[in-house]
């Protein structure tokens, strides 16, 4: 995992400390809303403050994402407000009353509008009052106000503590043991700040992430959504691939075989009368056969490269690397052969990444690492080129991500401008037959 610099960790902790202030304000209002809910009038207030709590939670999640380097999802509040209520509120508030002091034109408001702005906030507030996720959110708020604050304050305090201890040791006329204690304390604080700050910051981030994680139900819903999206992408992708293969065959090998048949037919007709022309036609036919075979090889290469079938992922990547214009070092730490569909997906992902290196990176060398990490197959493609690769800006990397998502795979691109570029592909993978190497 990438280690954050002490400065970045401190900066983030300062941000968390600043966020503590709105947390306190919102907490006061939340407490008030909860107390008042006992007599009913707090419910609309709850309707307003809980989304605000969630907003703060999201801000914390952002910082946690930054610290952990992975997405930190935030649990959602079940909103049952009818679609029209926001418009209704708008219509009511939009009335001239604010500008002109005139009362709104009550006749233009429907009964639904009136309900939406009067009854609905009570209903929603009441629902949240008994909603487990809302209470988990409040649990997180309590943590952020107490232990969370202490954790962040500790990280921030390490710098001033170091400075203060050393300055005091120098300035005050203290007996030697005291100076030693102060200097020792300063050194320990400095060490903790430089070497352990990242871990401390991570503790806070992990706690935030755990407390804010969506419930099982929400996770499953999200999973269903992701699967539906990746399935439809996969179907589209597969259809497009078949269409491409069809077109390649139609315009390539098929067309050449037609012309081959024509040549052979004409040669047969001319064989007796004009053997010289017949010979020319036969020679042409031979050339056409070669071209048709070349086309077919290209199509096969695009569907499933033969070397992948022969040698598996490692061998195929090795063969791929040999043919590139940039020297590629392959480190292969795979314990066996993954399932064929996974091999194929990873192969094409690596091939696309390497093709990008050759096309865009202006690198002098590249490297590929294949390894297993528990149930994950990881492929890392790196180069020493220009960097600035952005999967969002078109290019084949989007296709790679789509292809991998069908296997629950992920692609991470770390490519700062100026380089180097690091593309990490990860797929869940069951390992089958142990690897056999060529004799």
């Amino acid at each position: 995992m990438k280690r954050r610099t002490p400065w970045a960790v401190t900066g983030r902790s300062v941000g968390l400390l600043l966020l503590w202030v709105p947390c306190v304000v919102i907490a006061v209002f939340t407490l008030l809303a909860l107390v008042l809910s006992a007599v009913g009038v707090g419910l609309p207030l709850l309707r307003v403050v809980l989304p605000a709590v969630r907003g703060l939670a999201r801000a914390h999640a952002r910082l946690a994402e930054n610290a952990l380097g992975r997405p930190v999802p935030v649990l959602a509040l079940a909103v049952s407000t009818p679609a029209g209520s926001r418009d209704a509120l708008g219509r009511v508030l939009d009335a001239d009353i604010w500008l002109t002091g005139r009362a709104p034109d009550v006749r233009s408001l429907s009964l639904g509008d009136v309900t939406a702005v009067t009854v609905e906030p009570f209903r929603q507030g009441g629902r949240w009052l008994v909603d487990a996720d809302a209470w988990r959110l409040l649990g997180w708020l309590t943590f952020a106000l107490t232990a969370g604050l202490l954790l962040s304050a500790l990280v921030v305090a390490l710098v001033p503590v170091t400075v203060a201890a050393l300055v005091l040791a120098l300035v005050l006329p203290l007996p030697v043991p005291w100076v030693a204690v102060l200097v020792g304390g300063g050194v320990v604080a400095a060490w903790a700040w430089w070497w352990r700050g990242d871990a401390l910051g991570r503790v806070r981030a992990e706690a935030d992430a755990a407390l804010l994680a969506p419930g099982r139900q929400a996770q499953l819903e999200q999973r269903v959504q992701d699967l539906a999206a990746s399935r439809s992408q996969t179907v589209d992708h597969a259809a497009a691939e078949l269409r491409r293969v069809e077109r390649d065959l139609h315009d390539g090998a098929q067309a050449r075989l037609v012309s081959l048949a024509l040549n052979l037919g004409m040669a047969a007709e001319l064989l007796d009368d004009d053997p010289v022309t017949a010979r020319t036609l036969l020679q042409e036919a031979r050339g056409t056969t070669s071209a048709a075979l070349r086309d077919l090889r290209a199509v096969v290469q695009g569907i499933h490269p033969p070397v992948l079938a022969d040698r598996g992922l490692s061998g195929a990547v090795e063969a791929l690397a040999l043919d590139l214009a940039v020297p590629v070092t392959l480190t292969d730490r795979l314990p066996g052969r993954p399932a064929e569909p996974i091999e194929s997906a990873v192969y094409f992902a690596v091939a696309e990444s390497l093709a990008n290196v050759v096309k865009h990176a202006r690198a002098t060398r590249a490297w590929v690492r294949l390894e297993a990490d528990g149930p994950l197959l990881r492929a890392v493609v790196g180069d020493d080129g220009l960097g600035g690769a952005d999967p969002a800006r078109g290019s084949g990397l989007v296709g790679v991500r789509t292809r991998l998502s069908a296997f629950d795979g992920t692609m991470m691109v770390d490519s700062p401008v100026g380089g180097p570029t690091l593309i990490t592909l990860e797929l869940p993978c069951a390992w089958s037959s142990p690897k056999t190497s060529p004799s």
Binding site: S290, V307, A309, A319, L322, D323, L324, A325, P327, P438
Partner: protein, 215 residues
């Protein structure tokens, strides 16, 4: 010339037998899978094996492995490997032992029967014949030392040598005199620091250096 042939597609196997026989070769065994190939290669009187890369039972690279295995038992045993596709990687593995007597061609090269049989004969005589596609793949790579020391023309000559062409053939295909080709080849030997020895052996070494170099 006594030939062992391994090809699993009956149609192509029969065609190859006809082609080799018509050109004066004796096909002593024609087999369709890897185990039978191993048995056939045990015969010490065989001059050359013509082997398809992909063979039953596994339909992966059994033919290639059998060829490499046969050469570990009988160093320098001439093998002509045929395939529907060519891989730079396989060419390297075949040539790794450094003994030459290796051919590696696309199957479709049989469309030129005389040329094909000529290639088989050259392999049987200890030469090296690589498919133009393999040669092109290597040519496409960036020049790195020591090949970077060669001039473009010398690289061209080396590429043709890798395809198994004789000096005469290289000269006619580059439209230069044989004397000029010989001069280029001498320059290549010098630049690649190849020790003086039998000319054929040096040719193989030059090709090997060329194949290995870019890694």
């Amino acid at each position: 010339m006594r030939v062992v042939l391994a090809e699993d597609l009956t149609l192509l196997r029969d065609g190859l037998i006809r082609l080799l026989t018509a050109h004066g070769c004796e096909v002593v065994a024609a087999v369709g899978d890897a185990p039978s190939l191993e048995v056939a290669l045990a015969d010490p009187t065989v001059d050359v094996a013509v082997v398809d890369v992909r063979l039953p039972p596994g339909f992966s690279d059994e033919g290639l492995r059998a060829a490499i295995a046969a050469r570990t038992r009988r160093p320098g045993f001439p093998v002509m490997v045929l395939s529907q596709y060519v891989e730079h990687l396989y060419a390297r593995e075949l040539l790794a032992s450094g003994e030459g007597a290796i051919g590696y061609l696309l199957k479709e090269r049989v469309a030129d029967p005389a040329g094909f049989v000529d290639s088989v004969r050259r392999v049987a005589a200890g030469g090296t014949v690589l498919d133009p596609e393999v040669v092109a793949a290597i040519m496409a790579r960036r020049a790195v030392s020591p090949l970077a020391r060669l001039t473009p023309r010398e690289r061209e000559v080396l590429g043709l040598m890798a395809q198994g062409r004789s000096n005469t053939a290289v000269a006619s295909s580059l439209l230069v005199t044989e004397k000029a080709v010989a001069k280029h080849i001498n320059n290549i030997f010098t630049k690649l620091d190849l020790p003086v020895g039998v000319d054929d052996n040096r040719r193989v070494r030059a090709v090997l250096a060329w194949l290995r170099d870019e890694a």
